[in-house]
Every structure is written in C-alpha cells, then in structure tokens.
C-alpha cells in the first residue's frame, strides 16, 4: 500500500500592493533565498512547501498574486479556494499601507467567509526608510481581529514564523480526526475529512 507524503493540504494566498515583496516573502519561505531584482508577477503563480505541525505533514500550496490592478480579475478568482490569506504591505510605502482596507474589502467580496487572514508589514530591515510605524500595523490588525507580523524576506525575519502561524491557525479550525491516523486506513472509504488516503490494489 502507499500513502501520501502529507496528511493535509492547505491552500494559502498572498495579496497586497505591487512591489511590497509578496514574491520575495514566498521565495524566502519556499527556497530560503532572496533576489533583489524586481520582476513583477504576471497574474498568478504558486509554490509548494511541506511543513510539519503537531505531528502532521501539511502540504502548503501557496498562491502568489500580482499586485497590479490590471490583473485584478485574474487574481480575485483565486481568493475563493484559499484557506488562508496573507495581506502584505511595505513599511517604507505609505500607499501600500493605506490600501490595506481595499485589500480587506477584496477578501470580503471574493474569499470564503471563514478564511484565515494575516497582515504582514514587509521590508522591516529597512528601518531608515520606514514610514509606517509598527504600532500602526498592530493597530489596524487589532481593529480587524487578525494576526500581524513585521517581516523581512531579505533579512529572513519572521517569514517562517508567519507561515507556520497561519498554517497552525488553519489547522486549529480543521475538523479533528482520530489521533492515530498516521497509518492511514486504506480501506477506501476513509471519509475522514481533510485526510488523503490512497488505496492501491
């Protein structure tokens, strides 16, 4: 018999203004690397990363969206499948912070009602160019009842923590299965929500 290399699949989505570093945040998390050359994301892309939480292997399929308005219709069609959404702004860019409410409205309009949300203030390594105080990020996150991290893809600050926290929050919501399910029942029926089991005859 064979079983999957993971127990759960979580679909995440990165949104936010163009140039705030969504792709870099994802690249740091998935490949532990950073690239300074700015290449604007065309429409939508994704990366896969498997993490282990509470003894469960969780495959994260992370969708990276283009921040540019011209891709709006393409990117918003991916909101619905997301279980977690990371809204990223740039602490050196006031406009990207002001647009948070616009992005939150997009989530309300296009995503699942129970989607797990998180706010990231990226580029926190560039403190000399900071225009958005950390307290302002914390405040807006509190107002909307969502988690908040200041991150730096470049300096590798809080990136992994943010993704793992988001995955954990989704895991908490996921219906609980019988504890000893590592040996996945292969008798076909399965039926345990969220668990992928495979039967080979």
């Amino acid at each position: 018999m064979a079983k999957k290399t993971y127990d759960l699949l979580f679909k995440l989505l990165l949104i936010g203004d163009s140039g705030v570093g969504k792709t870099c945040v994802l690249f740091r998390f998935s490949d532990d690397a950073f690239n300074t050359t700015f290449i604007s994301t065309i429409g939508i892309d994704f990366k896969i990363k498997t993490v282990e939480l509470q003894g469960k292997k969780i495959k994260l399929q992370i969708w990276d969206t283009a921040g540019q308005e011209r891709f709006h219709t393409i990117t918003t069609s991916y909101y619905r499948g997301a279980m977690g959404i990371m809204l990223v702004y740039d602490i050196t860019n006031t406009k990207s912070f002001e647009n948070i409410s616009k992005w939150l409205r997009n989530i309300d309009e296009h995503a699942n009602e129970d989607v797990e949300r998180m706010l990231l203030g990226n580029k926190c390594d560039m403190d000399d160019k900071r225009v958005v105080p950390k307290a302002k990020g914390e405040q807006i996150a509190r107002e909307h009842g969502i988690r908040f991290f200041e991150t730096s893809a470049k300096a590798n600050i809080s990136i992994e923590k943010a993704f793992l926290t988001l995955a954990e929050d989704i895991l908490k919501k996921t219906p609980v299965k019988e504890p000893n399910s590592e040996n996945v029942d292969i008798s076909g029926g399965g039926g345990v929500t969220g668990w992928k089991s495979k039967c080979c005859s």
Binding site: M1, K4, I44, K198, C200
Partner: protein
C-alpha cells in the same frame, strides 16, 4: 479697331490701381512721354518738369513691382498653409475617431511591438495551463526522487501525491474539505501504476 483699342497704352489709365502691372506703368510712361513731347519745345521749365515726371514714374514702377511681388508671395504662402491644413486634418481624423470612443478607451499604436494584444481571458488560460503543468512537474519530480531513493529501500515507502488542482473552483463552489476528498480519484492512475510496477 477694337483690338487696336485694347492694346492701346492709354487703356492703362482706366485700370484699377491694384491691378496695375509694371507693363501698365510703362504704357503710362509712354503716353505721358509722348504727350510731353508735344509741349517740349516751350522751354526749360517744361523740361525740368519732364525729369520730375520721369522720377515719379520710376517710383511708381518700383511700387507696382513691389506690390505685385508681395501679392505673389502672400498667395504662395496661403496655398502652402492650405495644403498643410488639409494634411493635418486628414491625419487627425483617425485620432478624432478614437477620441470619440470615450474617455476610458485606449489608443493603441499598431506599430509598437510591445502593444497589448492578448485578452485577459487568454492570459488567464495560459496562466492556468502553466500552473497545471508546474504542479504536474512537481509531482513527477517527487515521484522520481522517491523512486530513486526511498522506494528501493522501503517496501512501505510512502507514495507521492500532490493536489493537482491548482485552479480555483470556478462557478460551482465545493467546500474545501470535499475538494480534498475529490482529489484521489483522478490521481489514482499515475500513483497506482508506478506502485504496482515496483511491487512486481
């Protein structure tokens, strides 16, 4: 008789001042000169007047000449401006059409190699296909890695499986939990094939 009359130099006196040519001035000079000859034998005063009249006629000649030249220049300039105006009008008529399309419309330069020429729907489809292929590649890579290493060591080695459904559910919305349950059906073939192949 008539034709003689017409060509008579004296006719120049009857012309409109603005229609005078240098030839008309010469005709006038001729007539005045001829008439002066008739009284030229009366004395020095008349001969003095003759020179004055010649001088005035010379000035007249210069003025008529200058006027006619200027008139010609103005006419040429007018014609140039006219054709220029026609050219600009025909050129801008295309632009005019575009402008009447409305404020939200965009004019595209058809000679620009980087002009936009694919629709959002086309881009969407290309991206979906790209992402699907990418997902399949990831599965294949993982399968290959397992086949190379783990599978040869452990009979119980886990098989790979990646959600090959990177595309969002479009219209009919299924809960994510169902989505996950949906998964295995399609993936069965690849996985089981590889697996049974190894077990043989």
């Amino acid at each position: 008789m008539e034709s003689l009359n017409e060509s008579s130099p004296a006719l120049a006196f009857e012309k409109d001042a603005f229609e005078l040519t240098v030839e008309d001035v010469y005709d006038i000079s001729y007539v005045i000169g001829r008439d002066l000859l008739k009284i030229s034998n009366t004395g020095e005063e008349v001969s003095d007047l003759q020179f004055k009249i010649v001088r005035v006629l010379e000035m007249f000649e210069t003025l008529v000449n200058k006027y006619n030249l200027s008139l010609e220049e103005v006419k040429m300039e007018r014609d140039n401006l006219k054709s220029e105006l026609d050219r600009i009008l025909s050129e801008s008529s295309a632009g005019q059409e575009a402008q009447t399309l409305g404020p939200d419309k965009l004019v595209v330069d058809l000679k620009d190699p980087n002009r936009p020429r694919f629709t959002m729907q086309e881009l969407k489809e290309v991206l979906q296909e790209r992402n699907q292929l990418k997902a399949q590649l990831l599965v294949t890579q993982e399968e290959l890695q397992l086949y190379k290493s783990g599978m040869l060591l452990h009979g119980e080695q886990a098989m790979v499986e990646v959600d090959l459904e990177p595309l969002p559910r479009s219209e009919q919305f299924t809960e994510t939990t169902h989505e996950i349950e949906d998964g295995p059906k399609e993936e069965k073939s690849t996985i089981s094939k590889l697996f049974s192949f190894r077990r043989k």
